[in-house]
């Protein structure tokens, strides 16, 4: 618990975004996301593309900028972490190849990180603040001196004070809700995960984007829906709550998506949609999407409570929320409402960018993974490493080797 924090360069190219970050333990020293930065682009495109060319062109400048912002040099790093999956295979390979090259050049250990686990652990990220002895620790890393245990202890104490998620005892219930994923994950220990429920078809973010596009809100529409929904009537349109009668904790959005589509088509037979129609529909649809999550969350918590009363299984002590849709205030409010009878607190990543795809969360996840086994410098010639860092586009969070 009082081991010195590791200085990690983290890279994520799992799909559209090219991102690099520098983390010191769970503290984010820099978090660079290509689409949000003014990088010189030689091809157009406002929204991120999956073009491999784009990843190839952006990866080096993004890494350079992360190191510069954190005021560190590669020599100071304790390790390099890279997303190995899940994601788009050719995109993942760009990040992996770059990370391997860096690890070889600088003789650093390389860590393979699971993208979903990173979303889950994003709540543990801590922003830079004056109480943290960052400069002292970085100075020690620069001169390769051992970090005194008193400094490490002080560091850990400040972390605990700053972020409640660090005080959590296990088990903790995690929710990762994004455009590509919607899962309920039980965290029984760091690195030990169980998927309690997940979508059997579309993710929540995807449902919002797709229906939003039909409403004429462009792409990506989820954030536009959120803005419009604030002014809309969520009860005007009745949409079916998915899997309301099933006992599993799985989610499903394809039926709701189809129902929304039909509803909009019916509405359009009476003439083009006006502002009020769109705003009300956005509110109604978003509300149903989130009700589905809260309904299943409630069932899950009730089940957990009952089980812990009957047998000796522990009850969840906290709820951790991650993924791009976690930025939605309405979702946060609805989840908090659901948690009230269970007296559970909702933990969120400290800023918006940590919810979407970003490399800082990779760094945070890596800092925990690194504690599990001794770090060995990456050797590109060793046979062992050749499959360890193969891209794993379908890697499940429960698959921890």
């Amino acid at each position: 618990m009082n081991s010195p924090p590791l200085l990690i360069l983290a890279i994520d190219t799992s799909c559209d975004e090219t991102s690099a970050a520098v983390t010191l333990g769970p503290v984010v020293l820099a978090n660079v996301i290509a689409s949000q930065v003014n990088l010189h682009q030689s091809y157009g495109g406002v929204h991120p593309t999956i073009a491999i060319q784009a990843h190839l062109e952006k990866i080096e400048p993004v890494v350079k900028q992360a190191l510069a912002r954190a005021l560190i040099t590669p020599a100071m790093l304790d390790a390099i972490a890279v997303t190995v999956g899940p994601g788009l295979a050719p995109a993942l390979e760009i990040g992996i190849n770059f990370a391997q090259k860096m690890a070889s050049t600088w003789h650093k250990p390389l860590l393979a990180i699971n993208h979903i686990e990173a979303h889950l652990l994003a709540v543990l990220a801590v922003p830079k603040n004056k109480k943290l002895p960052i400069k002292k620790i970085l100075a020690a890393k620069k001169t390769q001196q051992k970090i005194p245990s008193t400094l490490s202890k002080h560091w850990s104490e400040v972390i605990m004070q700053t972020n409640c998620a660090h005080k959590a005892s296990f088990p903790v219930l995690g929710l990762v809700i994004s455009g590509g994923h919607s899962q309920f994950i039980a965290v029984t220990a760091m690195g030990k995960y169980q998927i309690l429920g997940e979508t059997i078809d579309d993710a929540a973010g995807e449902a919002l984007d797709k229906v939003g596009r039909i409403l004429g809100l462009g792409y990506p529409a989820a954030s536009v829906i959120e803005k419009l929904a604030k002014h809309g009537n969520p009860n005007r349109f009745q949409l079916p709550l998915p899997l309301a009668n099933t006992k599993t904790f799985d989610l499903s959005y394809s039926g709701l998506k189809a129902a929304a589509h039909r509803s909009i088509q019916e509405l359009e037979t009476q003439g083009p949609l006006n502002q009020v129609d769109i705003v009300d529909f956005a509110a109604s649809f978003q509300s149903t999407v989130f009700k589905h999550i809260c309904d299943k969350l409630n069932k899950l918590l009730a089940d957990n409570k009952m089980k812990s009363a009957l047998s000796n299984t522990a009850q969840f002590t906290q709820i951790w929320l991650g993924g791009g849709v976690a930025n939605n205030i309405k979702l946060r409010q609805m989840i908090c409402q659901t948690l009230k009878p269970y007296a559970l607190s909702l933990q969120l990543p400290f800023e918006k960018r940590l919810c979407g795809d970003n490399a800082a969360m990779i760094g945070v996840a890596a800092s925990y993974q690194a504690k599990k086994k001794p770090l060995i410098a990456f050797d590109s010639t060793a046979d062992l490493t050749s499959t360890l860092f193969d891209r794993r586009p379908s890697w499940s969070i429960t698959d921890q080797n």
Partner: protein
């Protein structure tokens, strides 16, 4: 194994010997109006196992059976209206009509969908044989899977292993059969007939140029998945030899991913098939009857530019034993001019919430 040459005089003795052999669970090779067939008593479990070890590599396909008339067929399969029409129009004749099994035959005869192909050959000897035996016999072609079509006994024997030859008890040699095409196979267990095999098409220049279009109605997700499986069974050999590309079109919620789930079910993939909209591509490994390959599930909904598609290297993914199912195909047809899907499926939602699925076979 015994070989009897069939002459104009000895039909009765030949039949007597064949019936005796089949009653003992033996395997006979017999002539039909198409090719030589391999026959066992389809109600005898040991005999059917013998045939399966002779024939090998069914990989989910049904063994067809020969019966004497429609009345006999109805004892073993459910004959729906579609099938009735085909029986009326084409049987007896070089057609195999696939219907749902009534579960009265030995295990191993029916397909993985529990369907059976029925033949009423336009060949007197066979019809008489079945009538004398009073049981249906298997009507699968006599050649080992994948080998030359057996129009002559010498051809057949030259392409069999010793083990296979040892399984044969009796051969009825009717000389060299006229080189007619094997039977046309039609599946009647879907809402519309699905032609599973029609080798006559290769001779027709018009048939080659025009794509074949069939329209199916599916009442629920399960039916859509079963349809996907039956279509894939038809294209299974092609999938193994060249790979297969399927384009899926339909508006939001029509059921493209449900169809993809049907593909996964057929390939015996256990992993959940979820929407690939955000990663563009999800890959799954499969192992079906010892054949291993990859199922690539693509979604082009988010693809806006040609360079995005280029990154996916779709043409490189299509290799033997691989299958690609591409959702929102029309979204990118202008960008995908070099890729031609073998099958295109258009799914529409009907007023009663059923689906109309149009299959275009290129």
């Amino acid at each position: 194994m015994k070989i009897i040459k069939l002459t104009t005089n000895n039909q009765t003795t030949v039949l007597a010997q064949a019936v005796a052999c089949l009653q003992k669970g033996g395997l006979i090779i017999y002539p039909t109006e198409t090719v030589y067939g391999a026959g066992v008593d389809a109600t005898n479990p040991q005999a059917v196992q013998k045939l399966l070890s002779y024939k090998t590599r069914r990989e989910g396909k049904p063994l067809s059976i020969a019966v004497s008339d429609r009345k006999m067929a109805s004892l073993y399969v459910e004959i729906n209206q579609q099938a009735k029409n085909l029986y009326q129009q084409f049987l007896p004749g070089p057609y195999t009509v696939i219907s749902q099994s009534k579960n009265n035959l030995a295990p191993g005869v029916a397909s993985e969908f529990n369907t059976i192909g029925v033949r009423i050959p336009q060949y007197e000897l066979v019809v008489k044989l079945v009538q004398l035996l009073q049981q249906p016999i298997t009507a699968t072609s006599a050649n080992a899977s994948g080998k030359k079509r057996p129009y002559a006994i010498a051809d057949l024997l030259n392409n069999l292993s010793q083990k296979q030859k040892n399984q044969i008890d009796l051969i009825i040699d009717a000389g060299i059969l006229p080189k007619n095409e094997p039977s046309v196979v039609i599946d009647t267990t879907l809402s519309t007939p699905l032609t599973m095999r029609d080798t006559r098409e290769q001779y027709s220049t018009t048939a080659k140029a025009k794509p074949r279009i069939s329209v199916f109605i599916s009442q629920n997700d399960q039916e859509t998945q079963e349809l996907a499986g039956k279509i894939l069974l038809k294209y299974w050999t092609q999938l193994k030899t060249t790979g297969l590309i399927i384009g899926l079109d339909g508006e939001l919620g029509a059921g493209k991913t449900i169809f993809a789930k049907g593909i996964a079910q057929f390939l015996q993939i256990e992993a959940k098939i979820t929407s690939p909209t955000y990663t563009y591509l999800k890959e799954y490994q499969y192992n079906r009857h010892q054949v291993r390959g990859n199922f690539y599930h693509l979604d082009l909904w988010r693809v806006a530019a040609a360079q995005d598609l280029h990154s996916l290297a779709i043409d490189q993914l299509c290799q033997p034993k691989n299958i690609l199912a591409i959702e929102w195909w029309t979204q990118a047809t202008s960008l995908l001019s070099t890729i031609k899907p073998k099958l295109l499926l258009k799914i529409e939602v009907l007023k009663n919430n059923h689906r109309q699925i149009t299959l275009i076979e290129n």
